[in-house]
Symmetry: D2
């Protein structure tokens, strides 16, 4: 089990940033495991992720802020510190189609996703059996004309369970702005098209009608504007005229599983930074 | 050099189509080189391409229509016969960026594209030198406020040169409906995005702003509605936050060359059928 | 539920094959759902798959052989008839890694794989729980110095359960020639490399050492020569120097699942023909 | 035109490397444009590329070594400094197939490859015309029983023209160890297979016989062992049973062009480091 700290930084680009941060960590005997940075020439932003082993680090986590703040202030940094030992608590929302859910649960059990799944919320009963097999509490909350009421119950459950990240694993209800605003950049959705193409309803049907030669899937952070949040990952697969609508849906399922699980992994490993409605993934 | 005939058929699906066509050809001693068909379950259409060697075929091309018409009529066929010995005459339109042009010319010279290029038309002088190297007549027709006039000159050149297919190899002018209607399904364009995403102007800029994780290119037949014609081929390549706008443009060029040259090859080999604003490619 | 017949044909290429088969089916009122053929120019072979709806077909299955044999004999055909209503009985072998097993079981339950799984055989206990969740009999047969004995028990179980196809879903034991010869072209294995590169043991380790830029996976029929049987499907994924050995193993798992499940689906839908130690997949 | 310096470092991994290098550059007012590093856990190596703008840098290039040496010595660094203003001089070797050559020449002319091509050497006359179009001196050096003699002439030309990098753009002769040893990690070859599969002669033929479902191409540094040098880039494309040998060759050409041109670009931009017979590409 890795015992590391991850520092995520975003600030105006200027000389000496890497040197300053590097020196700060080196003086406290950090053993750097991973460091990556990005300079965005359009916005003049500097984005960085640095991860170091805590075993020989000579600064207690509780004192980090006090010691790092002066440097951070001088350089105008927006920063956060995360510990790999604190496993993210992820709540999964699912509707009828449970392939992404099954995929996430399997990956977590096999060690690929280092997080906890304290609850599954669904507007269908379909996934209950699967949830039980993996011994995860399953909450059936139907959504019809009662969206407000349903979201209230959902939010209560999320709070009770101290959920850090919500994953919409083919959850087919649109969340209200009110809900979304409570979890900024902490809700990940998978959309079954190569966004921005075919945003909105029935993307496979529309891809089939349009006659595209590749279909795609996209994982992204949820914002109040439908299918418009920062894209985290995308992938595509080739189709041909021999593929009927059902073949698109079937082939697409493999894409959805892959782009969603990658996004979840990168998020819980604190590898994603966002700016200008885009993401940087330090993988 | 292949001496073959290609029959392209489109008709309502019904029993006995393959048997009927197969028997017709077999009785006249056709040696079938390639046969492929597609049944579209939505529209109930049957689409077929069959190619046979003419060396032992016992029916003269000029008599084909007379003998085939009764069967075609009985089965409600829309059909056309093409001969591989008649090389398609392809006119290329290009503007400033000449990478697709250079690619097409090289492929033709190396034998990959079995067609003739009787002319290149451009609204810039950039490509003249390249045209001369390949000994292809180059026509500089500037387009500013004189589109009508320019198109008139273009159309005259196309007619004079008996052009079968027009290829817009990064030609950055929009053709009028009047022009497009003269060459239905005989104009191929390459658009530098994964359509229907980023149709219209400056697709790489918009892809960059949007933060997509893959960029694409699309070749399609031109219809009067901009970027809306039947898609022939698409491809994508992965990008990351490390790629700046110029990297997108550079990586995209390789996609553009590949999707355009495939479309041209399939067209001149009579491998494409269209229906419901989609294409079937019998490759 | 589709009620169709599938005819798979392999014979020396000659004129009139398609016409002859087409006419035979048409005269008996077959509604052809899918037809595809391949002519191999090297060997002079003709390979065909044709599938038709049985609902209006005017020939009983039990009489098919009698009526079809004269034509088949005239044309020198090697042929077999399969019915979609007869679900293939597939036995899965697995060792410690159960991601391919979990994937196959999920796909079958969700309707993507139209087959039965009457048994799972393993030399480990790891997968028992998963098997029980899907209510499939699980047989633990350890293999150490007792391979002969173990195979005897395995073969007995396969026979008892009338297994049509054996799938080695990351089964890490090498089967004896004696075993393999009992199920010619009826054992599918997944190898975790892009064969023929890295055949044999520890392919990810060797790929990592070699510094390849893509890793792959291959599904193939098992023959007595290790990793040398006809390849059914392959896929690859890009890696970089940032990927350590564990990342290769993790990324490779997704490939393994996809190439194995495709191979199984194509096999049980009777879409694969083999010749010259290669496969043709009529998808 | 970029006026930057690139520092490439390889040394045993230890704490404080990034801090030390960062501070060195910051104190001399470097504006860092790109920095990337890699820690190889197997070998304990640290590899880094850092590029900075020279316009405000307060250390003259000729004094760099003197000032940097003490730090480099303390940290046990293997290092080199390169200037983007010094365009690499690249000599191209080609035989009969000239698609890679045409591709490289076009990319250089269009600004994608920032290098010079002072000469083309070939054992055929095929490419002379193309060389003349791009106004590059073409040297016809036939190779039959006179390899020693031919290599002598080649080496003389390379030396005369101060060639930094040799690119074998489908040059079908095997270079002697003597020759290769003169240009360690300065000869790039493209092999038309996904190495290590199908190393040696006639890879497309062997891929076709084997029935692989994807074909590939590989660019790599040349070492005395044939097709065994560090891999720089690889790519693949899907094929099917419909593809005959000629289709493989044709499809493969696009791969060859792409993997070779990427390798050349990365090399001339000083983005490649090698260790343990592998490459790290800081792109």
């Amino acid at each position: 089990m890795k015992n590391s700290a991850i520092l995520l930084i975003s600030c105006p680009d200027r000389k000496g940033l890497v040197a300053g941060i590097g020196e700060f960590l080196y003086k406290r005997n950090a053993n750097v495991l991973h460091a990556d940075q990005h300079q965005d020439s359009e916005t003049g932003l500097f984005l960085m992720r640095v991860e170091w082993d805590l075993s020989e680090f000579e600064l207690a986590t509780e004192d980090f802020e006090t010691e790092f703040s002066p440097l951070a202030h001088d350089l105008g940094m927006d920063w956060k510190l995360r510990l790999s030992s604190i496993r993210q608590r992820v709540g999964i929302f699912v509707s009828h189609y449970d392939h992404c859910l099954a995929d996430l649960l399997y990956r977590q059990r096999s060690g690929e996703l280092n997080c906890e799944f304290p609850l599954i919320i669904s507007n269908h009963e379909t996934a209950r059996e699967l949830a039980e097999f993996y011994q995860i509490p399953f909450h059936f909350i139907p959504v019809k004309d009662n969206k407000l009421e349903a979201e209230k119950r959902q939010l209560a459950l999320l709070q009770e369970n101290k959920i850090d990240l919500i994953v919409l694993a083919r959850y087919m209800q649109i969340l209200s702005s009110h809900f979304v605003d409570r979890y900024p950049q902490r809700i990940i959705n998978v959309h079954h098209s190569f966004l921005p193409a075919f945003s909105g309803a029935r993307p496979y049907h529309r891809a089939f009608e349009k006659g595209v030669k590749l279909i795609g899937a996209t994982s992204h952070y949820v914002t109040p504007e439908l299918d418009e949040g920062p894209i985290i990952e995308q992938d595509v697969i080739r189709i041909s005229h021999r593929d009927q609508l059902n073949d698109l849906i079937q082939k697409g399922r493999d894409l959805e599983k892959i782009v969603l699980s990658r996004a979840v992994r990168w998020h819980i490993e604190h590898r994603i930074l966002t700016y200008s409605r885009k993401t940087v993934v330090f993988d």
